[in-house]
């Protein structure tokens, strides 16, 4: 047997890009939260990278095989959250199983896997029966997460499922029709929204109306970004960050820190890295050997894109504050672990595409 090459173990291009992004993130995190947070995050990243490389060695057929079980487990965890979850700031999102986990994060991987699994043997574009099944599982996850309540995540989860449907080749007519329906139903959604969620949306529409409370975060974030200028104030020199004007600056608002200290050039560099990762992942998806692999690769990539967009848009005042971390950069364990795990799946698809070609 031929000696296996590096690319048989993992995708060196993707790994390099991910490492660059993680490194960049740690540099910013050091400025935002100091060495203590960097050390903690480095441990999680290490774990995540290990998991990623481990997952990359698993044959994609195994994922396909275990998808229904993994999905059922994650749905059960979501149900468990509703009953046994830890209430933080009025919402039950966490489950204490020795370590705190956030089952909705798990769903970000398991739901697209499940939808892809439904479509795995179907002739694409999918017929009504498959579509109905896909929408059912999507609705189930979205509904459970919405109950926590977590509007932002439930929308993201729904999107992660819908991306699979889109990539499966559902007709443009249906896509446009669905989008139209979503817009029409927005008053109904508004009616069912919680008061604080309505306030968030209202605050987003006019942050200056309540500058001291809910609008404060966005105003301070915009000041941080804007005052960064073209080249930034320099590492650890951001006054908004260092003087604590910027809220949650190591988690959701870490891009504000980056913007303040590294300026527009720093932001552009970040987007270039993200764009390269997305391109690489979509390339891997297009090279995949079967429908299931293609669909999960593509969906996981697009959900990464959505994360980036919502976070970057939120902190710059384009979208409402929904509490979404910046992928691979924000401080936090669950997010980085799930993301690296999903990259592991993508890498697995990459490393196993050649077996079929032999």
């Amino acid at each position: 047997m031929n000696k296996r090459r590096i690319s048989d173990w993992f995708d060196p291009v993707l790994l390099l890009l991910i490492l660059a992004l993680l490194g960049y993130g740690l540099v910013v995190l050091y400025s935002a939260g100091g060495m203590v947070l960097v050390e903690k995050q480095a441990v999680r990243i290490g774990l995540g990278l290990f998991a990623m490389l481990f997952i990359a060695q698993i044959r994609p057929e195994r994922f396909e095989q275990f998808t229904p079980i993994i999905f059922v487990v994650s749905v059960l965890l979501l149900v468990a959250v509703l009953f046994f979850g830890i209430t933080v700031k009025g919402a039950k999102r966490w489950l204490d199983l020795g370590i705190s986990i956030q089952p909705s994060e798990l769903c970000k991987i398991t739901l697209p896997m499940m939808v892809a699994w439904i479509f795995r043997h179907a002739a694409l574009p999918p017929d009504w029966k498959h579509l109905a099944g896909a929408l059912l599982v999507i609705g189930m996850c979205t509904g459970l997460i919405y109950q926590q309540p977590d509007l932002g995540t439930s929308i993201l989860i729904a999107l992660s499922g819908l991306f699979v449907i889109y990539l499966a080749g559902i007709s443009w007519k249906l896509i446009i029709g669905g989008g139209f329906l979503a817009v029409l139903s927005s008053p109904v959604v508004w009616y069912f929204m919680h008061e604080y969620q309505k306030q968030r949306v209202l605050m987003f529409l006019n942050p200056e109306a309540d500058p001291l409370n809910r609008g404060w975060n966005i105003i301070q974030s915009k000041i941080a970004i804007g005052s960064g200028g073209m080249t930034g104030k320099g590492w650890q020199q951001g006054s908004q960050t260092q003087l604590d004007f910027l809220p949650e600056h190591s988690t959701d608002f870490i891009l504000s820190v980056l913007s303040e200290e590294f300026g527009f050039i720093g932001v552009a560099l970040l987007f270039v890295l993200y764009a390269m990762i997305i391109m690489r992942c979509l390339f891997i998806a297009s090279q995949a050997k079967n429908t299931y692999n293609r669909l999960i690769c593509g969906a996981l990539t697009l959900i990464l894109f959505v994360y980036i967009t919502i976070n970057a848009g939120m902190i710059s005042g384009v979208f409402p504050v929904v509490g979404v971390p910046l992928p691979l950069v924000s401080y936090g364990g669950t997010s980085v672990l799930t993301l690296l795990a999903s990259f592991g799946i993508i890498m697995s698809v990459y490393t196993h595409k050649k077996l079929i070609q032999q």
Binding site: Y166, I223, G229, M230, A275, T291, R294, F305, T309
Partner: protein
Amino acid sequence: MSKALKQPLHEKRLFNERALVALVVVLMVFFLLLSRYFYLQVIKHDDYSAQADGNRIKIQRISPTRGLIYDRNGVLLAENETAYRLQVITEKTKDLNSQLNALQDLIGLDEEDLLRIRKDIKFNPAFKPITIKENMNEQEVATFAVQNHHYPGFKATPYLVRKYNHAKVMSHVIGYVSKINAEEFSNKDPNLYASDDYVGKIGIEKYYETELHGQPGLLKSEINARGRPLSQAIEQAPSHGQSLHLTIDLALQQAAYDAFADETGAAIAVNPNNGEILAMISKPGYDTNLFISGISHKDYQSLLNAPEKPLFNRSIKGGYEPGSTIKPYMALAGLHHKLITAETTMFSNGVYQLPNQKRKYHDWKQGGHGHVNVVNSLAESVNVFFYDLAVKLGIDRIEAFLKPFKFGQLTGLDIAGEKQGILPSRTWKKANRNMIWFPGETVITGIGQGYFVITPVQMAQALSVLVSKGQYTPLHLIQKQVATVLVHSDINTAHWDTVHQGMTAVINAPNGTARALASKDYVFAGKSGTSQVFGKSEEDIYKKNEELPKHLRNHALFVAFAPVQAPEIAVVVVAEHGASGTKAAAPIAKKIIDAYMQINDLLPADEEAHE
């Protein structure tokens, strides 16, 4: 299988097409997001940069320290003391209600306080400090400090608060400071005042507010979002308020206050040579310290409703008839207008009547004083002599002559709130009563009755001119150079001397009304007076004053100066409802002069006592 067959190549093409569209969307969205960042970071950079600077640098105000107030000998009368203010930041507390309840006993809060605190908490953001208690002393703070750990979010911060020494005696001179109110604040220069500053409300504190207040400095601090200063640098040092040195001699002030014993009234002692006010009291005084941190409703009501009216500054606001104390001025006017000479005598049979009028104007002494000249008339306070003189002078000449002495005019004393009073005249009566002047009114004007409303400070101002023979020096309370103007410069010096002689006779002549007060140590001069109190019933008018209930008795007046040869002190005393000038007011004036002599070592050594 009824399902459609999979077509791998078609599906792959379909996927690639979708992935490509997605990639285009991704790149477009990224481009748009980057545009947003470009807009914020490059186009709007200057705006946000300025806002970030505003965030980081906080310019804070350093309150200037209020100037101190001393008496003429350097005795500290108004100072600044470190007090503590207990405040709470509600968002940092855990169980605010039970903490407040516990504090109620610990530091002593009443229901009124709690009501205010709860209101403040309700209407202020949670991060803003709410004052629980002001003006806590070291001991109260120590009590709290021991328990401090039970009260997260509560903090006692030191600040400077005004403190008045000898508050009661000095109350009507110094006045007090208190928190600036919204109206006052809107009238002040916002660069000088903060909304929680103290400001002089009355007295010296108000009149010299600008000098005492000083100019605030600026503290530039770099702070974090929690308001915690990271570094501080004084951008501009505050220029502290100017200290003031009063002309008041605290010892004399105290002596004057004590001389009143339980009586109410006013006394002013001045140096007639330079216009310095050595003592100025309005009895009773009150504790000005109560007002600084906000007087309680109960305390305020009890001060406001007290029958002795302690808040009323009689020395500048009390309006009285001068009564017979006007006689020396009348005598001087008569001499000056050559209506009388020092030798002119007239016969007093006890009654004066205007030609063709039935009304009789009486002497205080039944049957009259017999043949009297001007000096005797002053010594015995002969009304008939002055009725006659007033009629000869006429109201117009009386008004013109009295005006330069400042009767019925603001003296311009350097404390706020002086009342103008009334110098009777034809024009005044026309303007205020819309009536012509009657001759009978001229008669009683001659003995200081009728429409006169004169304040003690006006009496003191007039007396100082009379004593210094026409040198008008505006009275003042702060040590400063004041220009002296000669008034009535055309009056012959001999006339001044004659009047002084008459006033000396009041005390030192065998027939003087106040002969009982003559001092063996120095020679002083004076003149008593009675200011009528109206509101007596018809019946009461015929009673002797001493038999009336106290509040209906006439006010007793006495003006005096000493030593006669070279006057150094002039004194005006108003003893309210004292009935008789010589009995009630003159002894007080004597005590004040005695105290002055003693304080200034002007009494001859008592050799016998040493032997």
